[in-house]
Symmetry: C2
Subunit: 393 residues, 2 copies
């Protein structure tokens, strides 16, 4: 282990290895973001030229204000704010709309942070069941709304559905959900943590009231960072400014937005998002090639006897859950390193990011690999299979 | 302007200038933190070795878990968590304790983020008046509690008082407030955004139930970053784990803490805090020297005829509000550059961080300057005064 400072080791996984970690792929920095992080690392680095009205998203040097306008346009919404992680975007919306005992419709594959934000607001999650293909549909969402309304005597206050879920990377019918949401007059938040920043996305086309994205998941930015975008109509509520008045001093901080806690994502993380933004705008145009690569990989991966894919097929996302119970797990059962034999073999081939020791169901992500790396990755798995006597078609 | 990426300029204020910006001084990175930021810049960089129970503060490689234990000890509390900024620490505590209509006691010099977190929880702030020396005392706090209880028919739910306030940098009697809080059985949060990381601090000695600190303000860390620390008793409540169960899937995410939104401060910001920590532990021992430097500076500064200090004297903190209405502002009134003449003169002398254009009341911070820099800074102001015919004693 190479120590950097005391017991903190140097991290060079992205430089030295092919990293197939399911959550890390689209959050690795662009070179531009790395430069930004170095230049703007110091605490309040974004505040050098902060002037009236003294709010982060209004700062023009560096061009934070312009970035906010372009970011909203980029995701097809009227307004956008940066937040410390997608979860803080959920929190802002949920905290605005949900009161004690209110129901919030979520997916049966909802990310845990959606549960937490609802719990924090003292609301209750109500899950939409998956269809047979493990997809959330508009129809199932409508049925769930009906059921919740019958059971509780009132409409749910909010619908949160993931565009692509964290577990299978399946695409859910957010267009259909948006239509249903409108029919019932319930606001709809599309959780785009796995889509905003890697593929084209247009909130108004979808018909969503809120889009939430993640900087560290899909926007080539440091953690924590994220985006919450909305329409002008909802911005008035979720981005409402403070009304509180000090009873002794009569102080007011009128321009500060309550749910944003005033200034949100100061510092290096924001400037890194801004620095990555030109590349992000470019890379979303090549999402189809990323989808081709994962499908190529899965096709090769499935030539290994016993390998299966749990995610929907063909793949629409690079995040994919696979099942190797019928192949690598058979080896693991008798290997002295157990499931770690697969990690060892991968690491020898300069591949990391699998869940160490797991040989049954596990996730991988090929986002951002070149075609050469994708082919090398597929070959590596086939070579390992052959080495242990597993048939490869 | 030196462009780095498109319209983002290189930031090198801390490298090229003496920076007296009131909020930036103690948040500039240590070299160790800068190294950490470079190595751990990529999105989910802290998650490489995340295993059971899958929570940030439990990760042992890099040694995040150990850091949490040492951090709690460092501030004299039982438990600590990192959060994206002090405001998110206030939010966690307020969201736990405060319900609609509840009162929260704050200082008449409370930071605006305290207002926002109370407003977000639908509570109401009640300000403690300052005494004649612009200090919050235990006695005034007790009187305010009495008044609020009389007026509203119930005890306030929480007391939040700033150790050093953001406006004057005055030290408030948090020991006295803590005693009063205990007498009334009301939990007490000491906002240590301007003290944790620059001076010795012991929560249990103070008698506080919560300490909140800021990474980008006083812990040589990138924004957003912060700390919330508490006792075991309160940790059960504020760091409570999720109880929400999915109605369809029966999913639970038991180890995730509701108010922390699960994992809090992943990535470079946390590793930078960890990397700065050894230097932080060392630098708090030399706070007395920092206090000597600001008092030396103010003594020299006050030799300029018409200069005044609005903060308490002698200074107990490096953050200081000064009044130059009787000196530099007189020049500004007829100068063609108005108040910017002072900024121009300072910049010529490689000094930045004053509020550009302000020549009446403004803030500065000498934290972290060497003795040579402190003397140079004092001389610079005297030279400028002399140049414009202001007497210097």
């Amino acid at each position: 282990m190479n120590q950097m400072i005391e017991d903190i080791e140097v991290r060079a996984r992205e430089e030295l290895f092919i990293n197939i970690n399911p959550i890390q792929a689209a959050g690795r920095l662009t070179p531009e973001a790395m430069k930004a992080v170095i230049a703007y690392g110091d605490g309040y680095s974004t505040c050098d030229w902060c002037g009236k009205p003294f709010r982060l998203d209004k700062i023009s040097r560096p061009p934070i204000s312009k970035f906010h306008i372009e970011l909203a346009k980029f995701v097809g919404m009227d307004q956008a704010r940066v937040v410390p992680g997608a979860r803080r975007g959920f929190q802002a919306v949920v905290s605005t709309l949900v009161e004690k005992g209110d129901s919030v419709i979520v997916s049966s594959l909802a990310h845990y942070t959606e549960f937490l934000t609802v719990e924090d607001a003292r609301g209750i999650v109500k899950e939409v069941p998956l269809n047979r293909e493990n997809i959330i549909t508009g129809e199932n969402t409508a049925q769930k709304i009906e059921k919740v309304t019958r059971d509780t005597g009132k409409l749910p206050k909010l619908i949160i559905i993931d565009h692509f879920d964290y577990l299978l990377g399946n695409e859910h019918d957010i267009h259909g959900v948006a239509r249903v949401a409108r029919d019932y007059g319930i606001p709809f938040l599309a959780n785009c943590a796995y889509s905003m920043g890697v593929m084209p996305l247009n909130g108004k086309e979808i018909g969503a009231d809120f889009l939430v994205g993640s900087g560290h998941k899909s926007f080539a930015s440091p953690a924590p960072s994220g985006v919450v975008a909305t329409t002008n109509e909802w911005a008035e509520k979720v981005f409402r400014t403070t009304q509180m008045v000090g009873d002794v001093t009569k102080r007011k901080f009128g321009v500060k937005e309550v749910e944003m806690m005033g200034c949100t994502l100061m510092g290096a993380n924001l400037i890194a998002m801004m620095a990555s933004f030109p590349k992000i705008r470019e890379r979303v145009k090549h999402w189809d090639d990323e989808v081709k690569k994962i499908n190529y990989f899965i096709n090769e991966f499935n030539k290994i006897e016993g390998n299966k894919v749990i995610s929907e097929m063909p793949r629409k996302h690079t995040l994919t859950k696979v099942d190797t119970s019928g192949s690598f797990d058979k080896i693991a059962r008798t290997h002295k390193r157990r499931g770690f034999f697969l990690s060892d073999e991968l690491k020898k081939r300069r591949i990391v990011g699998e869940f160490a020791g797991a040989t049954r169901q596990w996730k991988l992500n090929t986002y951002g690999l070149t075609w050469d790396q994708t082919k090398y990755l597929a070959q590596a798995f086939q070579e390992i299979a052959k080495k242990y006597g597993i048939k490869v078609a």
